[in-house]
């Protein structure tokens, strides 16, 4: 019996690993999630008070030290707001000059679908959540997912009424990013086991990186390919820079803005349908 179960597990692992996302096992898995998602959602809602109580107890212990940090951060942010207001006024005038009309703080060409987190992977090796919106709500694979604070991850699998979101702290995640306002680009990768520390890799040596600088998605686009993440979504703040003489690049550490351990509600950025333009027939 033991041999049978072990063989079955290994067979499942091998077949699953080898097949594409449209394969039979993946389809069964999505169908199963479709059935289980309402149960998960019900349990999630019913037991939320108990979960919040445990969370609140832990938060009280952290609150004291966090208060001091927040005071100093508040002062820094106040100075930053003054500087940004000036920059924003300048930018508005410049945008008007070149005829751009962008919505504030939100990538162009995207709608949002609000979703509730109904499940979370229990192991440190899979940094993923399950949300209660799926393809029936317009959610598709590879769409970016954000919280009020910043980038959370991307949709990695979808069923009709639920979806799996791979967080930016998952070891398979990679996000092209840029430090603002200085501008060096790099790739944000996770550090397994430490969700409060992301790594901006491939930043060339010699490029000045300031601690406290903000990192956003760079949203590159070429003639054939386009980044999954639109430009301008805040990812995190630079905490320190490691520079090793033997390496070509410096490694920039950042703390994500979104609290990826305490996600209750997220938003999926779905692309707006392209506007239908009247065709003009020219003679």
């Amino acid at each position: 019996m033991l041999a049978l179960l072990v063989s079955l597990s290994i067979a499942l692992l091998t077949v699953y690993f080898g097949e594409s996302a449209s394969g039979g096992l993946h389809a069964i898995q999505r169908g199963f999630l479709e059935v289980l998602a309402p149960l998960q959602e019900g349990a999630n809602r019913a037991l939320k008070p108990a979960r919040d109580l445990v969370g609140w107890t832990g938060d009280v212990f952290d609150a004291k030290s966090e208060n001091e940090d927040l005071r100093s951060e508040n002062e820094r942010l106040r100075r930053q707001v003054a500087a940004l207001q000036t920059a924003e006024r300048d930018a508005r005038q410049l945008r008007a000059l070149v005829g751009l009309n962008r919505s504030e703080g939100f990538p162009d060409g995207y709608d949002t679908v609000g979703a509730r987190v109904i499940g979370r992977s229990p192991t440190v090796w899979y940094s993923a959540i399950t949300i209660d919106k799926g393809s029936s709500a317009g959610v598709r694979v590879n769409q970016p997912v954000v919280s009020g604070a910043g980038l959370v991850g991307r949709v990695s699998d979808v069923s009709g009424g639920a979806a799996r979101v791979t967080l930016i702290t998952d070891h398979t995640s990679g996000v092209s990013a840029q430090i603002v306002p200085d501008g060096p680009n790099g790739l944000v990768k996770a550090t397994v086991g430490n969700p409060a520390d992301l790594l901006l890799d491939f930043v060339q040596k010699g490029r000045a990186v300031r601690t406290g600088a903000t990192v956003i998605t760079s949203g590159w686009r070429s003639s054939r390919l386009e980044s999954l993440f639109p430009r301008g979504i805040p990812i995190g703040q630079v905490t320190r820079v490691d520079s090793d003489e033997r390496e070509l690049y410096q490694r920039v550490h950042l703390r994500p803005f979104a609290d990826l351990r305490e996600l209750d509600v997220v938003e999926v950025l779905t692309r707006k349908p392209a506007p239908v333009e009247n065709a003009q027939v020219t003679p």
Partner: protein, 183 residues
């Protein structure tokens, strides 16, 4: 364990409930940046209560349902929980499993072993990012939490399956012997 239709249904309900509870509630409660994991605890409890074959089978089902619900690689969790359930069942066969400390210590060791094996499998499958030493701290905290949760979980599983268990591993009291005073 008595194998009856009602018993099998009870086990299936248990498996489904535990996975839903883990994903929707327990997995989302962070204590010292870690969370408890009911899956190895329940696999261990079934192994201790019902023996290695039932322990391994329930471990397999728990892993399968969890992997299905999380849309993650099928087979990994099943493979590891088969081991947890089987080893707990073997312990029951070879040693005295009625001691009060067996569930908490078993929960701690089962979680440590499960998490270490999970990490090993992930390394074998390929890890594409640097790994922080904090992984070890998270595994240790998770194991301690599971050690604390093991007694209520074991008690709840035993109560749920009592009708089907041949021996429910209640701690045995020593027989009271009357002393005869001879003059």
């Amino acid at each position: 364990m008595n194998v009856t239709v009602a018993g099998v249904l009870r086990l299936l309900v248990l498996v489904l409930s535990v996975v839903v509870l883990q994903l929707a509630v327990v997995g989302q409660v962070n204590v010292f940046d870690a969370n408890a994991d009911l899956l190895p605890l329940v696999a261990m409890s079934i192994g201790l209560l019902a023996g290695p074959v039932t322990g391994a089978t329930v471990g397999f089902l728990l892993g399968l349902v969890a992997d299905m619900a999380l849309l993650q690689t099928l087979g990994v969790t099943s493979l590891l929980l088969v081991g947890v359930g089987y080893l707990a069942g073997r312990y029951r066969e070879l040693r005295d499993a009625t001691h009060k400390m067996v569930p908490p210590l078993g929960g701690l060791i089962a979680t440590l072993g499960y998490a270490a094996a999970f990490s090993l499998v992930q390394f074998l499958l390929g890890v594409e990012s640097p790994v922080s030493p904090l992984v070890i701290r998270e595994i240790a905290v998770s194991a301690l939490l599971n050690g604390l949760l093991a007694i209520p979980v074991f008690t709840a599983v035993r109560a749920f399956l009592r009708a089907d268990l041949i021996d429910d591993l209640r701690p045995r009291r020593r027989p009271v012997t009357r002393l005869r005073v001879t003059t």
